[in-house]
């Protein structure tokens, strides 16, 4: 089976994907069970217990995707519902990013102080 590159938000890995376009959902953290695909407490039912091809799998799991069949790369973005729930909760989403020296910083390290988060770019 051909080897594809899978971009799962910040994680990139290789996977075997056949002509049927089916990606093993376990690689995205979903387990195949009698009730469907499950992650923790959440299960989504599958029609005829069959894992659908990638584009439909993404739709089923709430994950928009971009699929390049010629280049054999697929990218899954974060679920818009998850992102919306996080922002509606009022809590500032946590993240960890490097500075120019490669030292990692977490937003939550600054809990207890007021924080101004300022995104800019050289462009």
């Amino acid at each position: 089976m051909p080897t594809w590159t899978v971009i799962d938000e910040q994680r990139t890995f290789e996977a075997e994907i056949g002509d049927d376009g089916v990606l093993d959902p376990a690689l995205l953290g979903w387990e195949l069970k009698p009730e469907g695909l499950c992650k923790g407490e959440v299960c989504v039912p599958l029609r005829d217990s069959v894992v659908p091809p990638m584009a439909d799998l993404g739709r089923l799991l709430g994950r928009p995707s971009a699929i390049d069949t010629d280049e054999r790369v697929v990218a899954f973005a974060a679920s818009p519902d998850e992102r919306a729930d996080a922002l509606r909760s009022g809590l500032a989403p946590d993240f960890e990013l490097p500075d120019v020296d490669g030292v990692l910083h977490r937003l939550s390290d600054h809990r207890g102080r007021k924080v101004v988060l300022y995104a800019y770019a050289s462009w």
């Binding site: 971009a66 790369v73 995104a119």
Partner: protein, 230 residues
């Protein structure tokens, strides 16, 4: 440009965290080194923060309180007047509002204003998947395939300039050149705004009367940007 304010307000309990939505450490490095920040000055090559907070342009500022709650969502604040003659964003009201909040003299947001920013739709996130795919392909040197995905991402989320303008340097397009002005012009002609500031600290003509800024032509500003920071 945040260094002075950060130093000023650090003892009053404020931490400034800047995040550069740039394609590499080397793109952001000259700006960061010129500012010599004492606050965390981070690089976000994968647009992690843009995705988490649904930021669609820069600059975007978010205020977060001691409990980690967003108290002022995505807003457009400039805290330096260096490019004000071009951007028409004056730093006067943002700086005053920030100081008042840090000193406990004013609420971070007027009563009734939501602390939730505009939320990303399915298509907005689909655009982020397309951008991630294009960016990965570009890093592999597969430029033609990358270009198709950058174009696709921009079509899916025409309001997302972290994608449309942010991809320009990767694609070999001048992000402050004709392609940029054509993009912004078309966007405005269709009745849209390139920046979406919150109303309470949005610039008004009296800001420029109260504190005049250096009036530079576009060419002068361009020359300064090309010379680099400092």
């Amino acid at each position: 440009m945040w260094q002075a304010l950060s130093t000023d307000l650090a003892d009053d309990g404020l931490t400034v965290i800047t995040v550069a939505l740039d394609r590499s450490v080397d793109d952001a490095r000259p700006w960061i080194e010129a500012a010599a920040p004492t606050h965390p000055s981070l690089i976000d090559t994968e647009h992690v923060v843009a995705d988490l907070y649904n930021m669609v342009n820069v600059p975007t500022v978010v205020w977060i309180d001691e409990e980690g709650r967003i108290v002022r969502p995505n807003d457009v604040h400039y805290v330096s007047s260096e490019f004000a003659s071009l951007t028409r964003f004056h730093p006067r009201k943002p700086i005053a509002a920030l100081k008042a909040w840090v000193h406990g003299e004013a609420a971070p947001l007027p009563d009734g204003e939501s602390t939730t920013p505009r939320l990303a739709t399915w298509t907005d996130q689909e655009a982020r998947a397309a951008f991630a795919l294009g960016w990965w392909l570009a890093q592999q040197g597969r430029d033609e395939a990358a270009e198709r995905w950058f174009v696709r991402a921009g079509e899916l989320a025409p309001h997302d300039f972290t994608i449309r303008r942010g991809s320009m340097p990767i694609r070999g397009i001048d992000p402050a050149g004709p392609a940029f002005f054509e993009m912004v012009g078309a966007w405005a002609a269709a009745g849209n705004s390139y920046y979406l500031p919150l109303p309470d600290t949005a610039t008004t003509p009296d800001d420029f009367e109260a504190e005049p800024v250096e009036e530079l032509s576009f060419e002068e500003i361009r020359a300064r940007i090309e010379r680099g920071p400092g």
